[in-house]
């Protein structure tokens, strides 16, 4: 499968490897939209397990965005990873897997990564008016949106 995809995309697939028995590939953000559709339709990865992100503030391309996919017919998992800079957006996978809807909203909520073509991209776990993205590394563990806390809870601090 990897060989076939490599033949199709060439250098678009930067790395395809196995770590601790788990397959993953790092791809170029420009092909990820196509690639996810191909994985879903041609390679039968019909179940999108999870979408998540990791923040590396010291890197030029600060974020890893990951799709963890599973195929019922092959009983196989694969992780697709892209690297993007702060402010770059990612193509939404809602039209490929309906489950991507809430998962992408959570990534947006926690990291501030925007998904192009998402039908209703808004915060999911935090309140709508909240400022800041808590899972970024520069967000402190006891940091809060004090303004929001004061306006909505009427207290100085949420602690």
């Amino acid at each position: 499968m990897i060989a076939k995809l490599k033949g199709q995309y060439g250098s678009g697939i930067c790395e395809a490897n196995t770590y601790l028995g788990q397959n993953y590939m790092v791809v170029d953000p420009s092909i990820v939209s196509d690639l996810l559709q191909i994985l879903r339709n041609r390679e039968q990865f019909d179940y999108c397990v999870d979408i998540t992100a990791v923040h590396y503030p010291e890197r030029e391309k600060q974020f890893d965005v990951l799709w963890i996919l599973y195929s019922f017919s092959k009983n196989e998992r694969i992780r697709v990873k892209i690297m993007i800079a702060d402010g770059e957006s990612v193509p939404s996978a809602v039209s490929v897997w309906a489950t991507a809807n809430w998962l992408e909203r959570e990534v947006y909520d926690m990291f501030g990564i925007r998904f192009d073509g998402h039908p209703d991209l808004k915060r999911i776990l935090l309140p709508d008016g909240w400022k800041g993205y808590p899972l970024r590394k520069d967000y402190g563990i006891i940091q809060q949106d004090q303004e929001w806390v004061k306006a909505n809870l009427g207290i100085e601090s949420g602690q």
Binding site: Y24, D46, Y47, V49, D50, A98, M110, D120, L125, I141
Partner: protein, 398 residues
Amino acid sequence: MTDRTMFDLKPTDPKPADDKYLSHLELGEPDKTFLDTNELVINMGPQHPATHGVLRVILKLDGEKVLGTECVIGYLHRGVEKIAENRTYTMFNPYVDRMDYVAAVSNGLGYCEAVEKLLNIEAPPRAKYIRVILTELNRLASHQLWLGTHALDIGAMTPLFYTFRDREEILKIFEKYCGARLTTHAFRIGGCQYETYEGFERDVVKFLDFVPPKIDEYEELLTTNRIWLERTKNVGVISRADAIALGVTGPVLRASGVKWDLRKAQPYAAYSDFDFEVPIGANGDTYDRYTVRMEEMRQSLRIIRQAVEKIPEGPIMAKVPKVMKPPVGEIYHSIEAPKGELGYFIVSDGSTQPYRVRIRPPSFVNLQALDIMVRGALVADVIAVIGTLDIVLGEVDR
């Protein structure tokens, strides 16, 4: 669902209090809402006994018919994933118990196994068997709690008392084993902290003999009960294709006819040693999810019996470094929790603290299916569907 304005809940213009009645009289005719069929948007929750926690569902109704829903979640958000980044691997272990607090043992199993994989160690066979016994007991406890509350929501009060009575026996075993009933923190990275107590096997076997007639008792109350059938048959139907597209897992997926269980598909712990069936449903309705879970309880008992009979002697803890520094890398490990696939994606940067822990909660993903399951149904069915999805808000919000 996609139309944001559909659910905008704008309050009507506030009028001065003393002007209220007068202005109404001046209108000269009754309010238009009387006997017309305007769409109505109402709020269910977040404080509502049937939402199983602080879940708010905005319902768009036409009379009694549901046109659409939107879930508002996050009331219990504690930032578990952020906490993980600021704790060592060992220190974070008890936190995972607080997500799905009715199945804390499963959460701990998933986390410990994920870190073990990252460290490239394996728990000894005896520890794996103890893990299987406790996890399956916990699955049973979780399903019993689900059955009691779900039946109560639909109007059957008796099963609640029956299931809580029998669940107590499981919690007693947990308490004797590790001192806690709910947030057990039963496992450690590399195995188990505690050897089984004197008489553990006897207690478990006693429970295995005690509970099957009780499960028959629950079934006697419900399975052929006419009211139960009316309330659950063809309610909250989700097709096989929709279930897969929405990523639902666990009993909800199996009731839609997908024979998929991680314990069989990608066995972890010691599950490959045991013989058990994966029950599936045909229609994907609330009744099927009920029968699937009932059968799962019996299969859990089968697994526990085999595990108790075959439990090997030996150490319960692998050789684990005092200071855990997993090599740089990423791992995704998932287990079949009572609610579905519970996954941990852990990134290590080679230090003592995880760089990132992502938890893939089954309840969160399953809850997303609520909208498709209740469209066109009645308000009372929303209650039934929330119950049948078996969500725990502590896990949805993390």
